[in-house]
Amino acid sequence: MFKKFQPSTDISGQTPVKSSVQRSIRSAILEQWKIEPETLEAVWPKKEGLVLVKCREHLSIYTVHGEPIFFQHFDGPIYPTLRLLHKYPYILPMVRVDRGAIRFLLAGAHMMCPGFTSKGGYLPPAEEGVAAGVPVAIYAEGKEHAVGVGITKLGTEEIKQVNKGVGVETVTYVGDDFWAIQSL
């Protein structure tokens, strides 16, 4: 999504968000992420207005004090930015790819199932399985911090069974054009 992203051409406008909309966004985040209200409050204080940065292809980035904190595509799930995820790594379910896949991930590729099911990979156990279409944090074998944010194309149990093709679509990753933007 962010492999190519130029603020000068891709951003069409910035507007402050209405407080009623902010409220609904806040409750949506609390519902979708595993984050305590207090922690969210620390990231995005209630008094600080949220700014919506509209971009091409119905992509909306939300910033606080010019710093992007999360984004959304159409009305889809809300993703945290990678820098926010690094600070609060527990907010998204975690999946891990093996070492061989890191190279491709950092080139923007989607993550294939075998990368998760091989020895270096990790998928949550069956009882904590993640359904399809859920934002996940992508970790890498032997690394401490997340390397990307993705969305599951198959449920985690399905990934284990099918073991072929795209399992998680990469949304943003370390070193893409969105990573380079520290403030908007």
């Binding site: 032997g142 690394k143 401490e144 911090h145 380079a180």
Partner: protein, 218 residues
Amino acid sequence: MPAKKNRDKGDKSTTTTTEPTPVAIEPEGPPPPEPRPPVQVLYCGVCTFPVEYCEFGSSLTRCKEWLHEHDLEAYNKYYSEEALQAKIGTLSLEAQSKLEKDTAKKEAKAEAKADAALKKKMASQVTIKRIERNKRKHVTSVHGLEAFGIDLKKAAKQFASKFATGASVTKNPQGQEEIVVQGDVSDEILEMIEEEVGILKGIPADNVEIVEEKTKKN
């Protein structure tokens, strides 16, 4: 006054999601919930990646140097002998050597690219053009500043405030952007570039030329 109080209360109950209400969340836990402190991640000063991902970037040698200078502990954690051994992990030896080769190649490529960019930058010209508007009235257009990484909008603002005239970023007929300043200020702009005033930094004076353009009417 009472009415207002009531409203406040009502507001709170509808937006309990954000209000730290210790009673509701932890009925028997005495300490009120505190926001969890963020994890501090050390980002590389060279490639901006978290330091453990430097090896996948295109400037590993420089990243290593940077880390060695800034955080010896972390350096030892990631680049000591054992760490390198452990890192290979599940990868086969063959794949590992291939990866290393790839990294070296990438690094060389990135370096060459940076070199070429620098060369291009050094070769590019800044043109200050004096354009006649009326017999004794001129505008000055400055072209080519963006090649030196200067924000044109900010530069225009700087010119405007310095000369107390209008200055704007406009597109010329070729579709390139240039700054148009009202009045004949070409010499002053040249001086500013030479003295590197404000944001006009990093332009070698040899790359700047002054051109005069007259209307062909007469």
